[in-house]
C-alpha cells in the first residue's frame, strides 16, 4: 500500500509541466558529453538521477525576486526544467561526472573500459 502511494506521488511529480532544457550532446572514443542550459537553477535545486538506463535531470528555478513584484512579460513561464535520456549499456553510469557552473550543466558519461576503442598492435614476426 505504502509502495503504491509512493509510486503515484512520483508519477505526479513527473507530470507537472516543466521546460525542456536545451542540450548539446556529443561523443568521442571514451564517452559522451552532455551540456544542458539550466539558467536560474541553484546548485542545490538540481537533481540528477540514473534509474536503470534512464538519466533524468530536473532543476527548479529560484530567482531572487522582490516580494511585491508583478510579472509584466515572461518568456520563461514555468519554474522548472526536466529532461530524460535513455542510455545504452556501454556507458558507465557509475562514473558520471557532473559540473554545474553559471547555469550550464556539463555531464561526462564515460564508456566502460571494454567498450573503448583499442588499438591493436600488429607485430611482425
Amino acid at each position: 500500500m505504502n509502495d503504491k502511494q509512493e509510486v503515484t506521488k512520483a508519477e505526479r511529480q513527473s507530470d507537472t509541466p516543466a521546460l525542456l532544457p536545451r542540450v548539446d550532446v556529443f561523443e568521442d572514443g571514451t564517452g559522451i558529453t552532455l551540456l544542458a542550459d539550466l539558467p536560474g537553477v541553484a546548485k542545490d535545486k538540481l537533481t540528477l538521477r540514473v534509474e536503470g538506463d534512464t538519466l533524468q535531470l530536473e532543476g527548479e528555478i529560484s530567482p531572487e525576486t522582490p516580494a511585491n513584484m508583478e510579472a509584466v512579460y515572461a518568456e520563461l513561464h514555468l519554474p522548472r526544467y526536466r529532461r530524460a535520456f535513455t542510455l545504452s549499456s556501454e556507458l558507465d553510469t557509475d562514473k558520471v561526472n557532473a559540473q554545474f557552473k553559471d547555469g550550464v550543466l556539463t555531464l561526462r558519461i564515460p564508456k566502460h573500459a571494454h567498450a573503448q576503442p583499442r588499438k591493436i598492435e600488429v607485430k611482425i614476426v
Binding site: V23, E27, L35, P39, V41, A71, V104
Partner: protein, 150 residues
Amino acid sequence: MYESLLNFPGGLFADFDRLQRELQQAFGAVGQPSSIRAVASGTFPSINVGSTPGSVEIYAFAPGIDPSKLDVQIDRGVLTLSGERPSALPSGDERQAVYASERFSGRFRRTVSLPEDIDPDRVTANYRDGVLHISVSRRESAQPKRVEIK
C-alpha cells in the same frame, strides 16, 4: 548508434514543443498586436520582466556567459543587452560525433523598452546561476506617495 540517448520519454509532446518553438522563431507570433520592439520568443537569451512600485526588474536567462563580456546599456528608455556565447561543440575533430546542438552560440543582442518613469542613473545588474538580473529604479517623483492629512 546512440539515437536512444535522444529518445526521451514524453517525446511526442516535447517534439511538438520544440517544433512550436522553432516555428515561432521563424515566423514570429501571429495574431495579437505586440510592441514594435517585440521579438519572437525562443531568441537568446529569454527575458522576463517584472514591475514593482519602485523599480523595473529584468531577468535575462543567459547561462554560461562570462559576465565581464556582457554589455548592458540604457539609451533613451531602451535597454540593450548584448554579448557573445562561444560554442561548446568540438570543432574539427573527426572522431567526435554531435548528436544534439540545441544550445545557442554566437553573438546576441536583445532590447527591452522601459517605461518612461525610470531613472537611468540608478541601475544595478548582477549575474547569478546564469541569470542576469537588472534592476532599474523608478524616479522618486513617479513613485506613489501618501498624502498626509493635517
